[in-house]
C-alpha cells in the first residue's frame, strides 16, 4: 500500500503553498485557455505568451484545485517558461509517460517498457508517486492537457 509520502512529496507541498507564476496576463495579447476536470470540479486557467520563435516568453496560472493539480501546474509553469513549443511538447510527452506507466500496468499486467524521451523532468519527478494513486493522475495532468490545448490554439 503506497503511503502518503509517495503522493505528497515535500517539493509538491512547497509548490502548493507557494505557487509559481500564479496570476493573469492581459489577454490579448496573451492567449488564455481553460481546462476542467469534470470528476472533481477543478478548473485551471493558463495564460500564455509566445514570441515569433514559438518560445513561451511568459506564463501565468489561475483557477482552483487540489494540491496535486495546483502543484503540477506550478511546476509546469516553471519548467516550460523560456522553452520553445517543440521542447514543451517533448517535456509533455515525457511527463505523461511518467504518469501513464502505471496506468498501463493496472490490473497486474506487466507494463511494456516505455521509451522515455531523453528529457530531464527535474522537480517534476516529484509527481512520480501520483501514479500509485490512479484517481489522482487526472489532477496531475490537467495543467499539461490545458497547456497543450492552449499552444494548439495559439498556433492555429
Amino acid at each position: 500500500m503506497p503511503g502518503l509520502e509517495d503522493l505528497y512529496r515535500e517539493i509538491i507541498l512547497d509548490h502548493y503553498r507557494n505557487p509559481r507564476n500564479r496570476g493573469e496576463l492581459e489577454s490579448p495579447p496573451a492567449h488564455r485557455v481553460e481546462g476542467f476536470n469534470p470528476l472533481c470540479g477543478d478548473e485551471i486557467v493558463v495564460y500564455l505568451e509566445l514570441d515569433e520563435d514559438h518560445r513561451i516568453t511568459d506564463i501565468r496560472i489561475g483557477g482552483q484545485g487540489c494540491s496535486i493539480s495546483q502543484s503540477s501546474a506550478s511546476m509546469m509553469s516553471a519548467a516550460v517558461k523560456g522553452r520553445t513549443v517543440d521542447e514543451v511538447s517533448d517535456l509533455t510527452r515525457a511527463f505523461k509517460a511518467m504518469m501513464s506507466i502505471h496506468e498501463s500496468s493496472l490490473g497486474g499486467e506487466t507494463a511494456e517498457p516505455v521509451e522515455l524521451p531523453e528529457i530531464k523532468l527535474g522537480d517534476l519527478e516529484a509527481l512520480r508517486g501520483v501514479v500509485k494513486f490512479p484517481v489522482r493522475i487526472k489532477c496531475a495532468t490537467l495543467a499539461w492537457n490545458t497547456l497543450a490545448q492552449g499552444i494548439d490554439e495559439a498556433l492555429a
Binding site: 500500500m1 503522493l7 470528476l39 470540479g41 482552483q64 487540489c66 494540491s67
Partner: protein, 414 residues
C-alpha cells in the same frame, strides 16, 4: 422527535459484512452512504439464494421454478408497495435506478404533455438527474425551466414560490438535498403545485432510505428513488406514480414484457406496471430490494430517522466545537431541518486532499461536485468533501472523522 427505542447499532453492524473489514490496516469507517449504502447479509443471501435455487426467467414460464421466480419478483413489488404505502402494486415500477425513473417521467409524461413555452419548476439544489433530462426536453420542445432559489443556510427559499409556479405544468424537486442535507417541506410544495394544476415529482433518493415514506401523504404525482441507497443492490430503482397518470402515459422503452400483443402493423401495451418494464427485469436485484425493504422495516424507519437525528446533532456539535472557524458545514444548522449528509469546507483545503488523508485513516468520505454542479456554483465552490451517515454509523465513526480531520490539518499545516 417521536419517542422510539434506540437502535442496537452493534447488532445492526454485525448484519453488514463489509463494515468488518479493514483498509490500510485500520477498521473501515464508512461515511459515504449518501452515495451508496452497505448491504446487509439478508440482502446478499436473498440474491444468492435466488441464483442458486430459483433462477429462471419470470412471467410466462409454466414450469415450477419459473413460477417461483415470478412469485418472488412480484412479492418484492408488494414489499416495496407497503414500504412506501402506495395504493396499488400497479403504481410500483421497477427501473434501473432513480435516474432512469426520472428520465422515464420526462420522456413519457413530459413528451406527451409538454409543449413550447410550458413551465417546469426545479430548484437550485437538484441532482443532475433531475436537471439534465429537463434540459434535454428544453432542447427538444422549448419548454421553460424556472428555479426555486435557496436561502443563505441552504433551504428552499419559498417566498416567491407562487409566482414561480404561475402557469407551471410541473414541479420537480428533491425531498432531501444530497449535498446540503436539507429536508424540504414536500407536502407544502406538492400542495402549492396542485393549487395551480401542476403535477409534482419528488426525487426521494436521499429521503426514502432514511425516513418513513407515505407516497399518498406526500401528495406527489411521482416519486423516484434508487435501491442501492437503501441497503439494496445497485441496478434497481423504483418509480412510483399515480395510477391514472401512469395509465395514460405512453411506454418509455419498447420490447418484450411491456406488450400485450404485437402485430406486423403495431403493438398493444401490457397492463401496469409491466407496461414500463420492457425486457427481462433485474430479477435478483428486485428480490434483493425486497429483502432490503424487509430489513429496514424490521429495524423500523422511525428508529432509523431518530438514530440519524442523534448522529446529525452529534456531528454538527462535534465538528463545530472541535474546529470552530476552520470548518464550514454547509446547509441548515438545525438538525430538525436536515438529514445526515454533511458537506463541508475545511481550512481552505481541497476536498480531494481532505479525502485522501482521511482515506489513510480508513475514513471513507466523498469529494467532488456530487452531481450538483449548479449548486456548487451557487455555493462558490468547485467541490466539497461530504460525510454521510446511515443506520449502522456510530458516534465513534464521527470521532474518527474528527481525528482524521485533525491529522489532515496537521499534514497540510503551513
Amino acid at each position: 422527535m417521536a419517542m422510539t427505542t434506540p437502535l442496537d447499532v452493534e447488532s445492526i453492524r454485525a448484519d453488514f459484512p463489509l463494515l468488518a473489514r479493514s483498509v490500510h490496516d485500520t477498521p473501515i469507517v464508512y461515511l459515504d452512504s449518501a452515495a451508496t449504502s452497505q448491504k446487509p447479509t439478508a440482502v446478499l443471501d436473498a440474491m444468492d439464494s435466488y441464483y442458486r435455487t430459483v433462477n429462471a426467467n419470470v412471467h410466462r414460464g409454466v414450469y415450477y421454478i419459473a413460477e417461483q421466480a415470478t412469485n418472488e419478483l412480484e412479492a418484492a413489488r408488494e414489499k416495496v408497495r407497503r414500504f412506501i404505502n402506495a395504493a396499488s402494486v400497479s403504481e410500483v415500477i421497477f427501473t434501473k435506478n432513480a435516474t432512469e425513473s426520472l428520465n422515464l417521467i420526462v420522456q413519457s409524461w413530459g413528451r406527451s404533455n409538454l409543449a413550447a413555452g410550458d413551465v417546469v419548476v426545479l430548484s437550485h439544489m437538484e441532482h443532475h438527474a433531475n436537471i439534465v433530462p429537463w434540459h434535454m426536453l428544453v432542447a427538444e420542445r422549448g419548454i421553460e425551466l424556472r428555479w426555486i432559489p435557496l436561502t443563505a443556510d441552504g433551504q428552499l427559499d419559498l417566498t416567491g414560490l407562487n409566482s414561480l409556479l404561475e402557469g407551471a405544468k410541473v414541479l420537480s424537486v428533491t425531498a432531501m438535498s444530497n449535498v446540503l442535507g436539507t429536508l424540504n417541506p414536500v407536502r407544502q410544495l406538492t400542495d402549492a403545485a396542485r393549487a395551480v394544476g401542476a403535477i409534482s415529482i419528488i426525487d426521494g433518493c436521499q429521503s426514502v432510505p432514511h425516513t418513513a415514506t407515505d407516497v399518498q401523504a406526500l401528495g406527489a404525482d411521482f416519486v423516484a428513488f434508487s435501491g442501492h441507497k437503501l441497503c439494496g443492490p445497485t441496478g434497481i430503482g423504483v418509480l412510483w406514480g399515480r395510477e391514472d397518470l401512469l395509465a395514460a402515459m405512453p411506454p418509455f422503452i419498447g420490447g418484450g414484457e411491456m406488450i400485450r400483443d404485437v402485430r406486423l402493423d403495431g403493438f398493444t401495451c401490457n397492463d401496469l406496471p409491466w407496461k414500463f418494464e420492457a425486457g427481462t427485469p433485474a430479477i435478483a436485484e428486485i428480490i434483493g430490494l425486497g429483502a432490503a425493504v424487509d430489513y429496514l422495516t424490521a429495524v423500523g424507519m422511525d428508529a432509523i430517522r431518530a438514530h440519524e437525528h442523534m448522529l446529525t446533532e452529534y456531528t454538527l456539535r462535534t465538528l463545530n466545537d472541535r474546529f470552530g472557524d476552520d470548518i464550514t458545514i454547509h446547509g441548515p444548522a438545525d438538525p430538525e431541518l436536515r438529514g445526515g449528509v454533511f458537506s463541508f469546507a475545511f481550512k481552505d483545503l481541497h476536498p480531494h486532499d481532505i479525502s485522501q488523508i482521511l482515506d489513510q485513516h480508513a475514513v471513507c468520505v466523498r469529494a467532488g461536485h456530487h452531481c450538483a454542479k449548479p449548486l456548487m456554483k451557487l455555493m462558490g465552490v468547485g467541490a466539497t468533501a461530504r460525510a454521510s451517515v446511515y443506520l449502522y454509523n456510530t458516534t465513534a465513526d464521527i470521532d474518527a472523522l474528527a481525528e482524521g480531520l485533525d491529522a489532515t490539518g496537521a499534514f497540510f499545516a503551513f
